[in-house]
Symmetry: C2
Subunit: 400 residues, 2 copies
Amino acid sequence: MLPDTIRQLLERADVRAANDDILATDDQTLAHQIGLTEIPAPPFGEESRGRRMAELLDEAGLANVQQDEVGNVVALRPGAEDREPLVLSAHLDSVFPAGTDVTVRADGDLLRAPGVSDDARGLAALVTVARALSRADITTQIPILFAATVGEEGSGDLRGVRHLFESGGAAADATGFISLDGAGMKYVVTRGLGARRFRVVLRGPGGHSWIDWGAPNPIHALGRAVGALASWPTPTDPALSLTVARWGGGTSVNAIPAEAWAELDFRSESIRHLDDGEERLRAVLDRSVAEENSGVTDRGRQLDVEVTVVGNRPTGVTALDSPLVEAALAATRASGVEPEVTASSTDANLPMSLGIPAITLGAGGSAGDVHTTDEWYRNTNGSMGIQRALQTVLLVSGLG
Amino acid sequence: MLPDTIRQLLERADVRAANDDILATDDQTLAHQIGLTEIPAPPFGEESRGRRMAELLDEAGLANVQQDEVGNVVALRPGAEDREPLVLSAHLDSVFPAGTDVTVRADGDLLRAPGVSDDARGLAALVTVARALSRADITTQIPILFAATVGEEGSGDLRGVRHLFESGGAAADATGFISLDGAGMKYVVTRGLGARRFRVVLRGPGGHSWIDWGAPNPIHALGRAVGALASWPTPTDPALSLTVARWGGGTSVNAIPAEAWAELDFRSESIRHLDDGEERLRAVLDRSVAEENSGVTDRGRQLDVEVTVVGNRPTGVTALDSPLVEAALAATRASGVEPEVTASSTDANLPMSLGIPAITLGAGGSAGDVHTTDEWYRNTNGSMGIQRALQTVLLVSGLG
């Protein structure tokens, strides 16, 4: 997108009105952000926050706000042309389990609460963009699909955005996809960091630690496998991260355990590196189980191993010269911030993996301690992030 | 002990009367065994069963039955000579946690209940021996200390028997020690299997599995250590068993854990092999933690490791030509059973480790599924086991 174009855009009276409206309603945006944060939205428990989000999008002037089969809240804002829409989205779910205290506390100039930034900020920004377009009476060339998605975090495994892009889904064949995820002004996510997650369970006969000494021990076998995996020189350029994140097993200090399990998280921008990691995992497990079973002739007393893929987040890239990325970079620069492109793991991974141009943007302000109960948000230049999102949308969707 | 001596013993009228009494009161012994089983006695919760045991020993004709500071029930039966006593003991505690259903169920010719054999059988036999001595009006040369001990199992770590043998304790400088532990006729335990137990905790900074990739992972370090330990060719002759029995750590699949822990059980008849095992454990932990910390310059972000010895059961041996072992072997043969000497981990470990002659005997009948909730006892030749205990006691303590 040429600098001239963003300048032309910003000189239009209707766009100026929309940008002014975003600034003027900054308090209202923040009130929505706080209100949404305080409605718990644990993985697979986004229903209540979704209902509130539907109300807010409706009040913001969108017609036909709907909650789909999986819980996504969607509203198609028609364009001048009947074409495939540009999607503007944020995610409903947080990483925090049911029962987490989600009360927002003021702490100096910070707002503190689990999920106050990720992604109550994105959701509030989504409402504010919709309202600004309505009040400035802007009709885009390309329709805009507003979407609040379920299942972006962890075990949700992108189920919300997957549903949107399914054949026949609301966003199938979309022109492009923008996710507003958390705070910030600087980054433009153009590369989707993939993730693959595994649950591994080893089972054996168990027994008494002395009388049955020699029986295969699933903790010993899994320890060997974890040790071998941890010592593996992981691929680089792009990096593969490999984390054994949880493990457990055993019931009593004087017994050979009957079961040992572990949960693993692999991440990379390279699908090949994720494949290499999975291959290595399966190989070290097979080898360490075989070692532990060596000398155990009774098949019924041998260890067996079960590997389940519990998460699979695809990788993808949006070209730096795509109109969507150029629009986001130009809109960022127009705010006086020098943008930086980066990789992350967000809803945008899914359309990227399908070849649909997709990016993720922060929705202004700043944040920290994200994914912890100390998560905080600071509203410095908050409106500027929402204006950047608006400009990016308008540059891609076009105006009459 | 010469065969002539056991023959002479069994020909005495008073000893015959005592043996006849054991046989005649077999039903009463079994009733006590069932009653004691049904009083829960989890580790560190032996109080109620101890009180009942004190009543039973009192009814059996012992004077001065006392419950000591740690919960042991003791009664000194004076001898003709004022010498250090021979100890005859059984243990009060079971392995089963509070809340376990300890109701005894008849199952054909089996009695089923947690702890019905280990060690309600030994406790009931202790009462029956005391009663038989009283009713046959037998005075031994050496005094006999009847003792029902706390803390024989697992985490009890022999605290009851330790207390008896402490300087100034009821059994300090005892002439010998016999533990009646569970069922059986054949085995004479002359070697104490030692055990050492550890809890290992590794702690680090934790973090996000991608953003903090490279931070030290305590599960990776502990996995390496477990793998190295499991692959170590353990000493043999006598064997060292090495069991990583439980482990845990981590809170979320997409986070580097802040903590990993494991519990380990080492057993051997050789204290040197237990020492070797502990040395190896500490070495593999140090090495694997150092590997994981390599490249982490900020000391505050390095892993640290804590090793706690949570159990230490000493080893020991009673010489095969000691009067105590010879007495037990002769008494077993006099019952028509060919004895076998063996190693086990019982209260006798402690006096063995102090150089005091000590053995453990089964108290007749047979048993199975011990240490499980399916534990059973069958009373075939039950009285014979108690008579064996009586003969062993009388051969060592002597008669006027």
